[in-house]
């Protein structure tokens, strides 16, 4: 079964569909029209660039080039998380990078290794889309988790100080905030896992079906990718908090307010 290609002219016309939501936003004076247009323009430019680049990457299928591309994806995710959390990029970029690399590499390598048994672990056709899906979800969860963690401690400074005064070491003092942050970061993924197939057909499954595969094969891929996403997000959130805690607190165990870029 061949996937039907989309003609450029028809895709361009399909942008017209956006006129409906934009009209609704305009009618109700919802002040996000500019942001929406900007997001659509960015999405188009980014996807066109990535599409062209991936064509080259897929045709060369060089393991080192594929690895480099994955690292670029991690770096972009890394900067997006620090910016999304309102945290000092200089201080957080390295520990977050390590957390994302470790957290996403574990489920990705198990996926392409023991699960798919690929002869070439860095096969672009598998490692880039699957890595991208894991990273995309890690990015969203890490922004929620890391932001929640640091802002909760900032908000509950008095409670946090009282905990330190009661004899808690840094690990014990941050543990309740780590728990809450993990909960906030992972609940959306858990909700997605619980309702998958009933509420929506996920992107990967749709892609595999559109690619002409049997629906049961698509479901097996989807189950594996959901496990990979949940594992990746859980590992990266915990690692991101623990690894950034070394730079986020001063030697007295107090939250260093200079980590926040917006100190209002």
């Amino acid at each position: 079964m061949q996937t039907i290609d989309i003609k450029i002219i028809r895709l361009a016309a399909y942008y017209g569909l956006l006129l409906i939501p934009l009209s609704i936003l305009l009618w109700f004076k919802v002040p996000i029209i500019g942001k929406t247009i900007m997001a659509v323009v960015r999405m188009t430019a980014q996807l066109l660039f990535v599409g062209l680049y991936l064509q080259v990457v897929f045709s060369l299928n060089n393991p080192w080039l594929n690895l480099c591309w994955l690292m670029v994806m991690v770096a972009v995710a890394d900067f997006s998380i620090t910016r999304g959390c309102g945290l000092n990029t200089k201080r957080f970029v390295f520990p977050l990078f390590c957390a994302i690399v470790f957290g996403s590499a574990i489920p990705l390598l198990i996926f392409v290794g023991p699960l798919l048994d690929l002869p070439n672990l860095m096969d672009a056709r598998y490692v880039i889309p699957i890595g991208g899906m894991i990273l995309g979800n890690c990015l969203r969860a890490d922004i929620i988790g890391v932001k929640d963690f640091y802002e909760s401690i900032k908000k509950d400074e008095k409670r946090y100080m009282l905990t330190l005064s009661q004899g808690a070491d840094l690990h014990e003092a941050i543990l309740p905030y780590l728990r809450d942050a993990c909960r906030a970061a992972l609940l959306p993924t858990i909700a997605t896992i619980a309702t998958i197939g009933l509420v929506a057909l996920p992107g990967m499954m749709t892609g595999v079906i559109l690619g002409g595969a049997d629906p049961m094969m698509a479901i097996k891929y989807q189950i594996a990718i959901m496990i990979a996403i949940f594992s990746g997000t859980a590992i990266t959130v915990v690692l991101a908090i623990l690894m950034t805690a070394r730079t986020g607190f001063d030697p007295y165990g107090m939250l260093d307010l200079e980590i926040f870029t917006d100190q209002t």
Binding site: M161, L162, S165, Q166, G167, E172, G253
Partner: protein, 233 residues
Amino acid sequence: MKASPEINQRKTTRQKSASADTLPPGHTAIKVKNIGLRFGEKIVIKDFSLTLFPGEKVVLTGDSGSGKSSLIRCIMGFCAPDCGEIFINGTRLTPESVWNLRQTIAYVPQEPDTGPGTLEQWLARPFSFRINRNIRSNIEKIPGLARRLGLLPDILKTDSCRLSGGEKQRAALLSALLLERKILIADEPTSALDCGSAKKITQFITDLPGVSCLLVSHDSKLAKKADRVVNIP
């Protein structure tokens, strides 16, 4: 309780060891030496010194904004002074020593934030910390101590978010006492209490045997009962 002759004698025989990491053991409970603190351009504390001897009850007074609470924060290691030194039980407060030194001080904040859960759960939480596990049996003392501090037994099952300011203050004092530490630092411990409760708590704190107390307060009754009143300019 008035200052004993022994304490007065100690006041006159303070030893000077400016740069040493330790003072002679048992000599002072807290020694603050010429500390200064500023937030940005604003000078909060300027060249302030204070000594609290073992077993002594000192009330710290001063105008609003004079830096009383900031001084407490410095002693607890919640912020580092720009200059000067702080010694707890003779050991200099440093980033390395702060973790051990905090474990020798019981701290009662002015507005305790008890967080979610029942009061009983909140009071038991410090005993989950590694350092307090050996005194976990003190949890059994909660009902008796609560009664002595004027807290009704039913209150222990109450969601701590629903407690009044005065109840929270007494709960924080109860929590501090359960940890059996030799130094008690309390920031306005009677500010949210009615006259009767304030009197009871004042008596209770000043009668604590062998506990050195540094109490930030504007309460004249507490000041009268203390060994010494120190004004922070």
